[in-house]
């Protein structure tokens, strides 16, 4: 090989890496963030990473260090994933162009999970002057290929999709995140459909990203799944969420089950979180969207190592475990999510029923079309469902928590505690397979989980997992 070719290659590669632009790296660090490559390094198993597109650093309008992002595949705890991070420090970031689409194709073909660090403001503003064709190039469309948005859409409900938002994620970057099963955000970050310049251009109002779409607001409205302190915590959370998509051979029993006694002797006001902690493997409960629609808890947990998706009413919430329209949406999405990834569902029921918002904004008994969403999702699930009625199950509440429960969608096992209300209003009650003591419950569930065997993934994607 000619000597200058080798030098050219090494030089080009070198220019793309972090050390070639110390000022940009210093700026990133000063703002409390990791660089795009540092994030991926922290995520992937050391030595497993393969970066693609490293040399694609030339744009029509001049030299850039990356195509707006860095694209990798590698392993996390020995399991293959694809991972990408936008590089906000480099001309405002971008999408990683054609390589993001390529990553998604690989993920689809090999059924690899995807982890995306998605901060940035959509397509690079500099590309606006070239419309049409330029946009297509940025989308990563090439003959015979698809763009990355549709690549990601095809993955929703097929492989686990995890987004990390650490910084500002607007426009197309918010779209990338919104396609994911789980959005993990760091405190102080912002997510929005249109960023401050767009809002200023449209409405003439000056507003900061964190006024416009603070993740603390998103935590309340269901716009994100997990809010964490900083980027290292976000990366840990991403690894943890990913791990729930695999079963462990065994797991530790809960250390303290004494809370059961309080539940049994309570007047129905107890903390469902503490009940769950006494039921699942010690320290294994990870709640998703905890501050949104608080009357229903959606969580991943383990039972003797096996992952279960938990739905549970929270009597401590303002509406005492009632299923509001938001709660119904929260359940529907979570059922789809578990079903996509073969995760058995455990539903712990104690609800006074479903509620609809009236004209005064008050919650009133009744159902709307939102409540039909979990009912349909349950009806079309293929993963095992186990239900435990702890207290009330009034009206359509039980159906929103575990489906209608006739031939097509019967739970594998329907348990009740002695505290379960049995009455005309509690429609579910006559369908119990057994009434068990709280301390017997875990073992009953474990028997079912052992019986249904190892997790099986659907051979085909049944339905796209809903983004909402």
């Amino acid at each position: 090989m000619k000597r200058d070719l080798k030098e050219q290659l090494l030089q080009a590669r070198d220019l793309a890496l972090d050390h070639a632009r110390p000022e940009a790296v210093a700026r990133v660090h000063a703002s409390g963030h990791l660089t795009a490559r540092e994030r991926i390094r922290a995520l992937l198993d050391p030595g497993s990473e393969i970066e693609i597109g490293i040399l694609q650093g030339k744009a029509d309008w001049g030299w850039v260090h990356t195509t707006g992002g860095v694209d990798f595949f590698g392993t996390v705890n020995g399991r293959p994933v694809v991972a990408s991070s936008t590089d906000y420090s480099d001309h405002g970031g971008g999408y990683g162009a054609g390589y993001l689409a390529r990553l998604f194709s690989l993920a689809r073909q090999h059924r690899w999970p995807v982890i995306l660090f998605s901060d940035g403001g959509g397509s690079r503003a500099q590309s606006l002057e070239g419309t049409g064709a330029e946009f297509k190039r940025l989308q990563g469309r090439y003959p015979g290929g698809t763009g990355f948005f549709e690549g990601l859409a095809a993955l929703a409900g097929w492989v686990p999709l995890i987004a990390v938002v650490a910084g500002r994620s607007f426009a197309g970057h918010a779209t990338l995140a919104a396609f994911c099963d789980v959005i993990i955000a760091t405190k102080g970050s912002a997510i929005g459909m249109g960023g401050p310049p767009m809002v200023e251009a449209a409405f003439g109002i000056k507003i900061s990203p964190t006024e416009l779409g603070p993740v603390e607001m998103h935590e309340r409205i269901g716009g994100i799944d997990l809010l964490v302190e900083d980027e290292p915590a976000a990366i840990d959370a991403a690894k943890r969420v990913l791990a729930y998509h695999y079963d462990e051979p065994t797991g530790p029993a809960p250390a303290d089950t004494s809370y059961f006694d309080e539940v049994i002797s309570s007047d129905g006001t107890y903390d469902m979180r503490r009940l769950l902690a006494a039921l699942v493997d010690e320290g294994s409960l990870l709640e998703l969207r905890p501050a949104f629609a608080r009357s229903v808890i959606t969580a991943f947990a383990r039972m003797d190592g096996r992952t279960v998706g938990i739905l549970a009413n929270q009597p401590l919430s303002e509406v005492r475990g009632a299923i509001t329209e938001h709660a119904a949406d929260k359940i529907a999405r979570f059922v789809q999510q578990c079903n996509s990834h073969g995760i058995p569902i455990l539903s712990i029921i104690d609800t006074p029923g479903c509620t609809v918002t009236d004209q005064e904004g008050e919650q009133r008994p009744g159902i709307s079309r939102h409540h039909a969403r979990p009912v349909r999702a349950f009806h079309h699930r293929s993963v095992p469902l186990i239900s435990v009625q702890v207290g009330k199950a009034s009206g359509m509440g039980a159906c929103a928590m575990s489906g209608i429960g006739s031939a097509h969608s019967l739970p594998v096992l329907r348990l009740a505690w002695p505290t379960a209300a049995i009455g005309v209003e509690d429609q579910y009650s006559q369908g119990f397979d057994d009434v068990v003591l709280p301390e017997e419950t875990r073992e009953k569930i474990l028997k079912v989980l052992r019986m249904v065997g190892p997790r099986t993934l659907p051979a085909e994607k049944a339905r796209p997992r809903d983004s909402w």
Partner: protein, 491 residues
């Protein structure tokens, strides 16, 4: 046949008929037999269980308060049912619940559309069983009515007609049906908390609001026929000629997109779904040359000027799924500043809701034709244009009033010329810099020039549009699904 048996049967029938004809006196409501007669093709109704009634009832209970049977609508085999509020207030009982289960089961087994009048409801006090064991369908061991409605979703259309009050289980039935048609003044919900259909329509729970039951029946017939069957031909609208003059000359002035839809569609064929919710986006089933088309269109006259907010996104996604489930081609009419932005839009969750539209477009396989009328900024209209998803749009048309660009041209100008604008001495000067550059962009790629780089298949006059769409429809065979693709979302 033994005369005693013949007489017994005749007497039972006469008793059922006598009470049934004692018409429900509520205003605007048709007697149950009249409803059935009107919704079915003449002579096509075959009743199941006319003599059913609960044992030990104190008074005669014709059909036990729920008339069911098979029939045809425009030749399409359907199942129909109607609760009868003249019989024990249309309450649910052990017997009529079994009839409802049978009705839904029939629809699922034979993939037949279902229409049910759902007024009445609540468990009959005299009924011998608690509703517990019946309502959930466990009793039949096969499929309960509500599970059956879930199964039917995406398999065959289901329509609930609500006229009067629908309580408890009957309200649940409506909320699980694919389409809810209600007469004004009706209400539904839990018995002590009925909410008006007018209010629920603003929340997306009602598809079609009408004045009378006769109209409700007409719309139910149209809904089912449109989704499942094309007509051989159709007449142009009486307003077709006006279409070249609907868009104002001033590009900043709004207009009513409904006028465009009416002018494009066959005369009198527009069936708008959910007009009172997500009002910045119109979703209508229409006929064009007899073929059914699902039109989704931005409404520039809406308070947010045709932007796509969270509810409009939900409405669009669900409508695309509906049309896709039944093989109905889609037509998008685009004039939108994009997905809604700003603090209010973010609080409504647009950052997550908007992806539902992208997903629906990606997973469709029905043809998509699009016409861009004026502006189309950002990702939202890109989705409506089908410039997105693995399937390219089947037709990309624009009117000469089109403005292209990835975002508002003023917005793009603001971003590109930001430094100059911020350095401007007066606000007027800043706006002048922005607008001058926006005009440069407009000159470059708008109007007829939009056709040059082949980002549209053609730029045509509004008055040429109907014919072009009809030709495209003729060249696109209607998808006939042999299997259910997926269930439909309801929100």
């Amino acid at each position: 046949m033994e005369a005693r048996l013949v007489n017994e049967l005749a007497e039972a029938r006469a008793a059922a008929a006598a009470v049934a004809s004692a018409a429900d006196s509520a205003p605007n409501k048709l007697p149950v037999r009249e409803r059935i007669a009107r919704i079915c093709d003449p002579g096509s109704f075959a009743e199941y269980g006319p003599l059913a009634q609960e044992e030990g009832a104190d008074e005669p209970m014709p059909a036990d308060g729920l008339v069911i049977g098979t029939a045809r609508i425009e030749g399409i085999p359907v199942v129909v049912g109607s609760y009868d509020t003249s019989v024990a207030d249309g309450s649910q009982s052990k017997v009529n619940q079994a009839k409802l289960d049978r009705l839904v089961f029939f629809a699922v087994e034979h993939r037949m559309p279902l229409v049910c009048f759902v007024d009445g409801g609540g468990w009959r006090k005299s009924s011998s069983e608690t509703r517990t064991s019946r309502w959930l369908g466990g009793g039949t061991g096969r499929m309960g009515a509500l599970d059956g409605l879930c199964e039917l979703s995406g398999l065959a259309p289901s329509v609930a007609i609500m006229s009067g009050e629908a309580l408890e289980g009957n309200a649940d039935l409506a909320m699980l049906a694919e389409c809810v048609i209600a007469t004004r003044g009706s209400s539904f919900g839990a018995s002590d908390h009925l909410m008006s259909v007018e209010y629920r329509a603003t929340r997306g729970d009602v598809d079609i609001l009408v004045e009378t039951e006769a109209e409700a029946i007409q719309e139910a017939r149209r809904y089912i026929t449109y989704l499942l069957k094309d007509a051989p031909s159709g007449e142009p609208s009486a307003t077709a000629e006006t279409i070249d003059n609907i868009l104002p000359d001033n590009r900043r002035r709004a207009y009513d997109m409904r006028r465009v839809i009416t002018a494009l569609a066959d005369e009198g064929s527009v069936l708008e779904l959910r007009p009172h919710w997500g009002t910045s986006l119109i979703t209508s089933l229409v006929r064009m040359g007899g073929r059914t088309v699902g039109v989704f269109a931005n409404q520039p006259m809406s308070p947010i000027l045709g932007a796509i907010d969270s509810t409009a996104a939900d409405k669009m996604a669900r409508f695309i799924e509906l049309c896709d489930a039944y093989g109905v081609p889609l037509l998008s009419l685009i004039d939108s500043p994009g997905f809604h932005i700003g603090p209010d839009a973010e609080r409504d969750g647009i950052a997550r809701h908007h992806v539902r539209t992208l997903s629906a477009i990606e997973h469709r396989d029905v043809p998509l034709f699009c016409v861009q009328l004026r502006k189309a900024y950002g990702l939202g209209p890109l989705v409506m244009r089908g410039s997105w998803g693995h399937l390219p749009p089947d037709l990309r048309l624009a009117w000469p009033t089109v403005e292209t660009g990835g975002m508002s041209l003023e917005g793009a100008a603001y971003l590109v010329k930001r430094k100059e604008i911020q350095a401007a001495k007066t606000p007027e000067e800043a706006i002048a810099i922005r607008d001058a550059y926006a005009n440069t962009l407009r000159e470059r790629e708008s109007g007829v020039r939009a056709a040059h780089n082949f980002s549209f298949d053609d730029v045509i006059m509004p008055s040429e549009t109907r014919d072009r769409i009809i030709r495209a429809l003729e060249n696109a065979p209607r998808i006939q699904r042999t299997e259910k693709k997926t269930y439909l979302d309801l929100v």
